[in-house]
Symmetry: C2
Amino acid sequence: MSIPTARERFRKFLAQKGLRVTSQRLAIFDAAFGRKEHFTAEQLLDYARSIDDSVSRATVYRTLPIMTRSALLREIDIGSGEKFYMPNLEQNTQIAQVVCLDCDRIFEISAPFMEWYGSTVSSKLGLAPVSQRLQVSARCNALRDTGTCPRRA
Amino acid sequence: MSIPTARERFRKFLAQKGLRVTSQRLAIFDAAFGRKEHFTAEQLLDYARSIDDSVSRATVYRTLPIMTRSALLREIDIGSGEKFYMPNLEQNTQIAQVVCLDCDRIFEISAPFMEWYGSTVSSKLGLAPVSQRLQVSARCNALRDTGTCPRRA
DNA sequence: CTGCCTGCAAACTCTTTGCACGAAT
DNA sequence: ATTCGTGCAAAGAGTTTGCAGGCAG
């Protein structure tokens, strides 16, 4: 159970910033941390409403930036119109996204060398890296060869 | 002048795909290739209208995918709501984007190592990389130290 | 009590689309 | 002559915001 710890981090973050701990914010938080796959804002609204049906779309959209700023959630933009979110269980890690064009799934893999890439690339411009994203779009070998994606089945 | 060559590539591409060469498409093309900085769809509309004021927003949005598919234009999504475009002068190159959070400018730098990285990361998942983006958000050292960004001034 | 938070619905931004006219081949 | 391309305006998707009432501190 990493939920109690993370929820505690959330309460602490709220208190620290002078933000109020409301039942809606906690419901949204629990909904997010009960997920193991990526989710959209709209999906999060559904999940949160199944915990507390008073949660509104507006509050979800107002709470998401709070959670991403506190590094509880990771925001992933694969350029598809809507953003995806994911509980940030292991912190301080450089993560790359691989998006499968065949099944639309997002895989995240640890990418420790990205840090070096970011500084290398930024320092040439007199800039200091703040964050970085490596995103790979790819196709499924198994689907091409056998007609079926093992992950999809 | 790389414009005649590129425009020729554009005509060829259109012909090859059975698409018609219209004055609007050429105006949009010229507008795009007259730019040296990144631009948005809306800006491209303005530029194109100054060449041919019959160009409509719809046609710009319908022409952009044609130009990106033909690799004449590069599309850059920094997750800010709107997409940016850039004439693709040097082809076949892996390019990373560095976005300065202080001046909002987008710098593109060649990043040949990305290719290797994409395949390494994809192959672990049984995927074959199609494209990849490395995007670094950074802050300006000079602005922090001297209060002024040399690029802005 | 004070003022931050909330739900609702309208507004906003960027992009896409249906339609009837017009132009390229 | 066909058929594709166009402008216009409306629709769409995702997200943000103004407002009046509600609940945390």
